[in-house]
Amino acid sequence: MEYTRYLLENGLRILVNSDFNSPMVAMNILYDIGARDEDPSLTGFAHLFEHLMFGGSANIPDFDSPLQLAGGENNAFTNNDYTDYHLTLPFQNLETGFWLESDRMNKLAFSQDSLDVQKKVVIEEYRQRYLNQPYGDAWLWLKPLAYKVHPYLWSTIGKEISHIENARLSDVKKFFFGHYAPNNAILTLSGSIKPEEALKLSEKWFGPIPSRVIKTRNIPKEPVQTEYRYMEVQRPVPSPAVYLAWHMDDRFSREYYILDLLSDILSNGMSARLFLRLVKDRKLFSDIDAYITGDRDPGLFVISGHLANGISPEAGMNAIREEIVRIISEPITDRELNKVKNRAESQFLFSNMNVQNKALNLAYFEWLGNADLIDLEMDKIRSVTVAEIKETASRVFLESNCSCLVYVNNGEK
């Protein structure tokens, strides 16, 4: 992807992709702060904080109204590793985006009212997404089963609702000044804007913001798992479900690409192995999925599925294990591997078709180390071999490296 890079004196990195096919400009700000940076007694805070970023800044009482007045739309998300804010505006009104984003990077309003309301909103989000859906709490159990030390053991929403209830305004202030700063952020733009113009606006609005001392990151390394872990939860679910998770290497490793492709071979699409064999041929699962968590630090390779009517979790898990043995004993064919590589390539093309995705991709790869990595991504995927998949699978899919969560029906409807 073509882009121009600038670095302001305060440490803010700016990357601009001009695309005059669009009448809009997408603006993306990624802060290098995620749930993994949280205090274990205040989990869910990075995400709660993301809500507070919309509750007014030092000079602007409300973020959304002026943006909407300028024809804009925005959203944000928080994950284990980073927090991302994005907006799109008609190019004529882009400066409003600079005004808004720079003021909240400069200083939040720190309103007690906003904190009180957003705590309630986030608690309802917690309930709606995790507690009020069948199987909705799976990750709240699976993560602490697989991780014992690394902060990936808690979910972005938080370990428990009380952590959100306990958040105080003093924590909010400390968090802001310790993590929100130009030298801890990446600003990207894509759309109808020239790089020089973007630089001028950036210098005007973001230039005066002082750099800040960022809290040093000291994340404990997850020790190697040495024994099989099993957990069963009883719920009024319609059918049992199984989740199997194996530890894998981090986002920078070759293993990441190898296992990403393997997860596609197993479950991406209607001709994928697990779907054809376990859903269609053997009718053991009503659906099944394999995926990697894709985090920056060492992540998980997960296979999860809902059992077909009358099938026991043991029968389902045994069938998954047989498929894992097959990866190693009867290697993947070249055609299978080429198929998932072709699919990855087209998905990559499709993902770069609008300005908002382009701005996010630029920011994400820059955060990983360098936006130029975008153009190397396909080569890395293309270079994976059948032999590497077999070797990696035999190393990762060990029983002693596996955590298993099972949902069983507790007898209620």
């Binding site: 309301v117 679910v237 078709m353």
Partner: protein, 432 residues
């Protein structure tokens, strides 16, 4: 520089419209061509008047649609999927009340083999019983999950109340309706509705001149209209008879929140008031800064989100407010929604709020046609109602000219809350 002062903004008045072209295949299928995009990828939409309103038995339409790629005389569903996926292409299938479709995304360089395959799959599906049994069993499992979700319980009940459970738009499928469906019913539905007279095609990508001859070859020449073909006549829908029940409470004891639906049947996009009412709906609950969001989420913290929608069907439409709220406050939320609806009908919107909504909506229209495939989605929704993209220019003019009085009058004319259906699904035990 004063950080308290907002930079000057401009109101965007004109929409740069993309040129689309219309043509027909040799067998009469109408085609819209959208030249758009710069990447070497394209999309072909095959849209059929084959939604659930046309079916004789519940699930006939959606299972026909879902079973089309599950096998031909010479290929299994797995082989078909493998071929698509090998070329880095994919297809989506979906069926709603009015239409059913197959949408293909492909790299330009592989479009020819992909269209050849899709033509075979679409025109000669085998509907193998073995595959149907699997799909039915798995659909039942996913419906069991849905039946535990308060959102889904509320949605189903709301649908029955506003359209009446005997009307084709009001019919709600239950698990017991799946089992009786046979391959023969799907073969029959396919032969009557997946045919040329019920089909429309859209082609999107940077080089449509290259794709059109391929589309003609595989879906025109290759698919002649049979001489004895009797196209199923368009089915006239009966009058909508909303249920006389206006308030419905569903108890789901394990739930920790209550799902709400409030609304009524209205009209579709062709109605002269649809555009104006879209603006009314935006102010009330159609964007993040809406009155419902400000009141229920941002002031009271009752919910993660609340929104209202104005939806257009081919022969009707409806207005609905939807939210999932803290269980204890669902009745209070209903009262607040009612107050906000009433306020739309009695008070004139203030100039500041109206200016904001004008600019937000014009921005939304621009966003809705930005990017080749967004443009296709927008165009498709219009074309199915016999409209084209010029509708958006007219809408843009109305957004910039509508007055506070007109907004109030539109609300008063169509959003009388006393005849709206209210559905709540939740634990109920803790309600006041």
């Amino acid at each position: 520089m004063d950080r308290k002062i907002m930079p000057d903004i401009k109101t965007v008045k004109n929409l740069p419209l993309t040129r689309t072209e219309s043509t027909h295949l040799s067998n009469g299928i109408p085609v819209v061509i959208i030249p758009a995009g710069t990447e070497p990828v394209c999309r072909v939409d095959l849209v059929f008047e084959a939604g659930s309103r046309y079916q004789d038995t519940i699930f006939q339409a959606s299972l026909t649609n879902q079973m089309i790629p599950e096998g031909t005389a010479s290929m299994t569903g797995g082989m078909i999927a493998e071929e698509f996926e090998f070329y880095g292409s994919y297809f989506n299938i979906s069926a709603d009340r009015d239409e059913a479709d197959i949408t293909i995304h492909s790299l330009e360089k592989h479009l020819e083999p992909i269209l050849r395959l899709m033509s075979e799959v679409l025109i000669h599906p085998a509907f193998p019983k073995e595959e149907l049994d699997i799909i039915k069993a798995n659909r039942i499992e996913s419906m069991k999950v849905d039946d535990q979700r308060v959102e889904s319980l509320a949605r189903k009940q709301f649908n029955k109340l506003i359209f009446g459970s005997n009307h084709p738009y009001g019919v709600v499928g239950e698990i017991r309706d799946i089992e009786p469906i046979t391959s023969a019913a799907l073969v029959d539905f396919h032969s009557r509705f997946y045919e040329q007279a019920h089909c429309k095609i859209m082609i999107t990508g940077p080089h449509p001149d290259q794709y059109l001859p391929m589309v003609e070859r595989f879906f025109g020449e290759n698919w002649p209209v049979k001489e004895n073909n009797i196209s199923s006549p368009d089915r006239e829908l009966p009058e909508i008879q909303s249920s006389t029940i206006k308030r419905s409470i569903i108890t789901q004891k394990d739930a920790v929140q209550t799902a709400l639906r409030i609304g009524k049947p209205l009209f579709n996009r062709m109605h002269p008031d649809f555009m104006g009412l879209t603006i009314v709906n935006t102010i009330l609950g159609g964007y993040f800064g809406s009155r419902l969001m400000s009141n229920i989420r941002e002031e009271k913290g009752y919910t993660y989100g609340i929104a209202s929608h104005l939806l257009s069907l081919r022969d009707s439409g409806y207005f609905v407010i939807g939210s999932t709220v803290r269980a204890e406050v669902w009745e209070e939320t209903v009262i607040e929604c009612t107050k906000e609806i009433e306020r739309m009908c009695t008070d004139k919107v203030k100039p500041g709020e109206l200016e904001l909504v004008r600019n937000y909506l014009t921005g939304q229209i621009q966003r809705s046609v930005d990017g080749p495939f967004q443009l296709t989605d927008q165009m498709r929704a219009l074309w199915m109602n016999g409209l084209d993209l010029s509708y958006l220019s007219v809408f843009m003019e109305l957004i910039n000219s509508i007055t506070p009085e007109e907004i109030r009058n539109l609300a008063a004319r169509h959003l009388n809350h006393t005849n709206m259906a209210v559905v709540a699904a939740g634990p109920m035990k803790t309600s006041v």
